[in-house]
Symmetry: C2
Amino acid sequence: MNRSLSLDLTKKIGEEVLLKGWVERVRSHGKIAFFDLRDMSETVQIAAFDDLALKVAGLGVQDVVEVEGLVKAREERYINKEVPTGSIEVELKSLKVIVKSQEMPFDMGGKDLDLQLPTLLDYRALTLRHSKVREIFLIQSALLSGFRKAAESLSCVELSVPTIAASATEGGAEVFDINYYGHRAYLTQSPQLYKQMMIPVFERVFTISHAYRAEPSVTTRHLSESTQMDCEFGFVDFQMLLDLLEEVVIKMLKEVEATCGDILKARGVEKLLLGKTPRLTLRESQKIIYKETGRDNRKEKDLTPQDEIDICEWAKKNHNSDLVTITHFPTAKRAFYTMPDPNDPEYSLSYDVLFRGVEISSGSQRISDYNELVQTIKNRGMNPKNFELYLQAFKYGMPPEGGFSFGLERMTMHILNLANVREASLFPRDMERVDERFSQIEEKEV
Amino acid sequence: MNRSLSLDLTKKIGEEVLLKGWVERVRSHGKIAFFDLRDMSETVQIAAFDDLALKVAGLGVQDVVEVEGLVKAREERYINKEVPTGSIEVELKSLKVIVKSQEMPFDMGGKDLDLQLPTLLDYRALTLRHSKVREIFLIQSALLSGFRKAAESLSCVELSVPTIAASATEGGAEVFDINYYGHRAYLTQSPQLYKQMMIPVFERVFTISHAYRAEPSVTTRHLSESTQMDCEFGFVDFQMLLDLLEEVVIKMLKEVEATCGDILKARGVEKLLLGKTPRLTLRESQKIIYKETGRDNRKEKDLTPQDEIDICEWAKKNHNSDLVTITHFPTAKRAFYTMPDPNDPEYSLSYDVLFRGVEISSGSQRISDYNELVQTIKNRGMNPKNFELYLQAFKYGMPPEGGFSFGLERMTMHILNLANVREASLFPRDMERVDERFSQIEEKEV
């Protein structure tokens, strides 16, 4: 008999099927017993009677089993509308335990997994299997897929760019250094410089890569290693870039809604509002916030976290949009390659996209003139010699260009309202942990 | 006027168009001049007369220009069948230089780019623009896309797994170490252990990630940082795995042929032969080689490079296939997680796929039993304590599973018959170079 998947069983009522998967929970009532079997597609209820019920009572959570059984429609009053397989169950005919699991260190059978973050991560290989954890990464996979489809539809060519660099390219001290054949090298903070160098090669590029930040503090929002989705476009001006950016964000969110709508709904995530994205300069947004709330941040160089919340509320109310694009941040607050606004160089042709109160993307028009770029690097106290290959791309004909990037884990976190970005990373890296906590590793070494 | 792309011009004969791109080469004959304009889609010939011819004569290679002109069909005798735009040319009406390039350090205008490897890499931001270099990375992008499509069609969920690890996971000394907040950590040699841990979460997974190997030697085949495409499947046996593997390889190669057939043809790459892939054990293949060539390697623990060439010749001749799958390598020669063949544990349920004389993929059925895995780690002289999180996945119900991986740069290299794998990496990392050669970097520091 060929293996069936749980999700397909509603179409197989009256048929004998072979299932393989993991035991999720067991409910034994003497001569009748039930268990939930989970496979790659879904969870389904298995019902057992008499001798088989005794055998089921002996099952442990996470045992790997092979089941033969008869698919039956449930009586109306037993239908569970919360799961896609809730209208059927499988009457057990034979049961084989392929692999016996060890005892659970905590309850994995509940609808939620009620664990503190350190335990959630100490047992990551186990806790990822819980449906409430697992589904976070289905959302993440949809974001990756949505990003890629959007980039490909805009004729971007995919790149694989390196993560080992000879200097701390974007400046700043927060870099990890590597012993590279006796030389000192660094892990890149972003694929930024490489994607720009590829503009004269392909004009439109995208890359999904890892970004490394040696943040010397533990917050709910920072990871030492994260996944970044980047686009870069040649022959574009600032307005075209904003159009492209908003097109990509909206496509990504729509892909998540199309493929993971059930998950969003079950987790109580509000339906996404994707009306035309309003665009405001930083100063315009601060004026609106002042008008709406009376809070006067009109001279601040950036939005505060509360500002971000308030301007998103305004966009939702007035533009039916969960997104709002903020432009023209002060030039001094953005990375060196950001182009100052020719009409007012104190401000830059930069942008952030806010989603439901937080920033999920940022980018800018770039400085594309070689001499201006060299001068800017010097003005920022950096040495152009450390940017030799990067500058080469500008020496030999760089058109007007710009781009943007998204943080995968942060975006996942905010779509699902997770409390901590670590929950949105399969195996999060931070100051205290690389899989295991360093305190544990050191204990073992003693 | 909206911008047109070169590749679309054959459909616009008689129309006035606006083009933007780079000057590839200039041919001036006084009152008549020509130049080739390259944009993201293709290269097209621009013809100029009189005053405009003088202006064209002043253009430099890699200048970024904006052109208005009239699309004209070429006379029969001037048609160039080697390029997709060879049946038309654009008569120049107005020309604007957007960005002036600096002088070329070498000739970029030839059909081939005749440079030694160090120069090719020292000027990487420039040399990547040459069509013969650029198209290598279109093939690479097609391989990425083909891999992903194949994995998605097999219901694999995409993962983003970390590259920073607490121990040198697969054993061996060739790892880079990182200063990680004062602790020592390592760059992963592969995503292997993480993708296996995800089997009980999603059953079928794929990941595209970077692999780091501190190879202390300079060869034509090794990179210190490379791109790896990985799949892993739960509830599979060895035969199913071989089926899955061959399905994925063939889909990848077909994607390359479908999207980049012109490039393959222009480079003289032979048409791919993708008949049913023959499968041989190592010992069977050695017997065939002995019979075909008289060379007796029947007791060797692996195929030699010449063996790989010869068995591929045999597969081509006898099975109309550029691929051949070799199985059952000696257990001691494969990574610790490889499952020994239950019928003959000296050999393993492992496989390599050879393509036109070289290995492009390898993988295996894995040891899925917790106790056997712990014992194997000990037998190999490693400490199970360094594999705590990995082993956790096996403690709590790991089904039979296996998988495989492809090296992106190696596969690109072999499809195109490149002499050196560095040519198939945008910005290759090796012992001597991270963008710039270390000798150059050190000179500057003095």
